[in-house]
Homo-oligomer: 113 residues x 2
């Protein structure tokens, strides 16, 4: 995922968030290429609203979705399924995925905006 | 927040997540000290279940809570309120806070565990 990706602009709640928290295995081994490809793909998925990502030791990626059906379609996408499989066997030491319904949000807008 | 903090161990859903995504202002200016103090405080809050944090350009902290009442109590905590105020005026360029109800989760456990 791109480290400079800004704060996602999302519509008024309710909508869904997928919180993906992971510990990577050492080395890249095709991971970066897959991550770039997933970003490319996900941005064209129906119901995709945006994502935010950061990694130190722990990686956190939160993607935002219109509804649960959109999340299920993305999970079943054939290239994404392949990435999930290799993620389990190779790229990740451990991860947790949480599907959550966003009920409220509030923001501090950039000064001058 | 501590960069080596592991993946949070949370109970079976439903529970709540507060997704705090931020862009920091340049410099520290008391930020690290406040962040350490907030971690110390939050861990003793009733209904607090754990948190996960990572920062590159974008910072993402997700805290997990038993229910909405626990989130509201933490938001109203006097020292936390002071930190929120200084955060708005000094530490953050921009942020978004999303309150979400976690409906499902699944994990890849560390190999050998």
């Amino acid at each position: 995922m791109h480290p400079m990706h800004p704060i996602a602009t999302t519509p008024s709640p309710p909508y869904y968030a997928v919180i993906f928290t992971s510990l990577k295995s050492p080395g890249d081994d095709g991971y970066s290429q897959m991550a770039d490809r997933m970003v490319e793909l996900v941005e064209h998925q129906e119901g995709f609203l945006g994502f935010e990502s950061a990694r130190e030791e722990l990686g956190i990626t939160v993607s935002y979705w219109k509804d649960e059906a959109s999340i299920k379609r993305w999970k079943a996408h054939v290239e994404h399924r392949e990435a999930q499989k290799t993620g389990k066997s190779k790229w990740y030491e451990a991860y947790t995925i949480r599907i959550a319904k966003v009920e409220r949000e509030y923001s501090l807008a950039p000064r001058g905006s």
